[in-house]
């Protein structure tokens, strides 16, 4: 597990990010709530103070007159170092009295009667909360309108808001800490089976292909089953390989035993004619053994599922001609007439040239070995195909599929290795081609056809 990418880290990040956003929103909301609560509480004080002032306004000597009770202002000054301002304004907007010329409020009053308007203003560089009360004298004969403006600086409000918010913050942080702890525990618990699976795989003997046996939650059980399927496939491949190696060893040991025995026998004799006889026999056996070893290599390569050589566009006509050029002399010496029937148009497929050459070589070799006199390589156009037709004894239909198995030989076959057709079959499969066997032209001999898929380039 690299540090850069881990499941638990991903889970943590994707769970923590929304949690963080949520927490921030809660903090923000708590802040606004604290502000609102503080404002509500202090606005009550502004209301009470302005009311206390308004009640003291009287009409004397044709003008408004205020005798301000100290309590009216004291209630606005809390423990914090707040500054309190007031002013009384008459109907013409003139300031009658007060300790500061507070600005007016332009908003229309909701009713004509007694109203109070709050707002936050910055006045002379000071951020204050102001209340403007518009009212009239409560006199039965004179109802002179006037305005009381009251304001105080925000220290008290801010202190209260901060206090309220701090209480909330502590709670939110505690919740967040709890959530993170719970998250970590949950992730650990959820990922524990993964750790168990990793340990189980790591502690395995690399040579065993036995299936993994451990109880896992559903998602990991699927993974385990997939791994087990792969292991089962590998077991089959290995069993196949072991059988093949056993067969191969047997196949190679037999001719070597023959060679050794023949040499031993010759050494016991003194007749040069017998020696010559032995040498001829030994030469034949050794070249057959060498060919067998080569075929075993080809087959092993073809059976390797990891072996995927590059395919390139090829002309089947050219491949067929080349095969004739290569094998004609050997066939001619053995008294076999090898020929080619190319297609009128050039037939192109995607393939591996040397594999097709090897397939044709094996098929020509087989035909020659089994007593054909005439062998023809035929190129077909629709679908693209390569066929080898011979006039030999052929193979009865019932036994044709058997011939594709490695080391399978007919009983009367003394010379072949039983690998040729298996190799051709392997090559056909790497080309996605179908290998078909039928009777040759006129029902005589054998025709082996490689039919390639039609997706010619």
């Amino acid at each position: 597990m690299t540090r850069g990418d881990s499941l638990s880290r991903r889970l943590l990040v994707w769970l923590l990010l929304p949690l963080l956003v949520l927490g921030s929103l809660m903090l923000l909301q708590a802040w606004f709530e604290a502000r609102r609560t503080a404002d509500r509480a202090f606005d009550r004080l502004l209301e009470a103070a302005s009311l206390a002032i308004a009640e003291q306004v009287q009409w004397q000597d044709d003008r408004l007159w205020l005798d301000l009770p100290p309590a009216a202002l004291e209630m606005l000054a809390t423990d914090a170092e707040e500054r309190v301002f007031y002013s009384l304004i008459d109907r013409r907007g003139r300031m009658i009295t007060g300790n500061a010329e507070l600005p007016g409020d332009q908003r229309e009053a909701v009713s004509d009667d007694d109203t109070l308007l709050y707002r936050d203003v910055t006045w002379q560089g000071l951020s204050v909360r102001q209340g403007v009360r518009r009212t009239r004298l409560e006199d039965w004969q004179l109802r002179e309108p006037f305005e009381v403006r009251v304001a105080h600086s925000r220290e008290g409000r801010d202190a209260l808001a901060a206090e309220l918010w701090r209480a909330n913050l502590a709670m939110i942080l505690a919740m967040a800490a709890l959530a993170i702890v719970a998250l970590l525990l949950a992730i650990r618990t959820a990922l524990a089976p993964l750790t168990r699976l990793r340990r189980a795989i790591r502690s395995r003997d690399p040579r065993t292909l036995a299936p993994l046996e451990l109880r896992l939650p559903r998602e990991l059980a699927e993974l385990r089953d997939t791994v087990n399927e792969l292991l089962a496939r590998m077991r089959r491949v290995r069993a196949n390989q072991e059988r093949f190696i056993g067969d191969a060893s047997h196949q190679l040991r037999t001719p070597l035993a023959g060679l050794s025995a023949r040499a031993e026998l010759a050494l016991r004799q003194d007749d040069p004619a017998r020696w010559r006889e032995a040498l001829v026999a030994m030469q034949a056996t050794s070249s057959r053994t060498a060919r067998l070893a080569m075929q075993l290599l080809s087959l092993t390569r073809l059976a390797n599922p990891e072996y995927r050589p590059e395919r390139a566009p090829l002309s089947l006509n050219a491949i067929a001609r080349e095969a004739v050029r290569e094998h004609w002399t050997a066939c001619h010496r053995a008294g076999v007439d090898l020929g080619v029937a190319t297609a009128a148009a050039d037939v192109e497929i995607l393939g591996i040239d040397w594999q097709l050459a090897e397939a044709l070589g094996n098929l020509i070799d087989n035909a020659r070995r089994y007593g054909a006199r005439h062998v023809t390589i035929r190129v077909g156009e629709q679908p693209p195909s390569l066929s080898i037709e011979d006039d030999g004894p052929g193979i009865p239909a019932a036994r044709r599929t058997l011939m594709l198995r490695p080391f399978h030989r007919d009983r009367d076959d003394l010379e072949g290795s039983g690998l040729g057709l298996a190799i051709v079959d392997g090559i056909a499969r790497t080309h996605g081609a179908r290998l078909a066997m039928s009777a040759g032209p006129g029902g005589v001999g054998l025709r082996v056809t490689l039919r390639f898929p039609g997706d010619s380039p």
């Binding site: 050794s286 290599l297 080809s298 004609w328 020929g339 080619v340 040397w354 023809t376």
Partner: protein, 220 residues
Amino acid sequence: MTLLLVEDDALLAETLTETLRLQGHEVCCLDDGSAAHERLAVPGHGLALVLLDLNLPGCGGLEVLEALRAHDRATPVLILTARGAVEDRVRGLDLGADDYLAKPFALDELEARVRALLRRRSPAAALTAGPLTLDIRQQRFTLEGEPLTLPPREQRLLACLMQHAGTPVDKARLAEEAFQGDAMGDNAIEVYVHRLRKRLAGSAVALRTVRGLGYLLEAE
């Protein structure tokens, strides 16, 4: 004219050296890839032909070949190897080998290939196929010591077949050699081949038909 044989199997090396010496060649034999690399990597090795195994101790045969081809493209190289797969053959030929023999091979085959490579190196004044010879400079044929006069097209056809004696030659190629681009049907080639066959009849050299492909000149 020394031949270099690089082969690590003692029995095979001994047999091949003996065979080539009996053919009248001087043979130098190395059994190790590094020694071969040392000998071939620098100019002035003075060899007429290199017979090279691919599976060598010390240094791989393909590496040796690459080192040789880095400075010398002329000296022919014949690869001998147990890796019979055609894939390896292609790789060897791509790297600049001239020919390839998969082990095991018949000694006859080896001798023929060595002869062919040496001939290619110093183009002979004459081509021979059994009793038939062609004096290349004068374009004159002799059959069993007797001069054989031929019309130009038959002459060119036979010369082409002689160049590739022992291997089948495509009809298309023969047509091009004989008629040098003139459009002529396959039937025309057949006529000329028929005539040549009549001229060669009774001698130890035969003109064989390769069904569907072309013809081949073979000394019996």
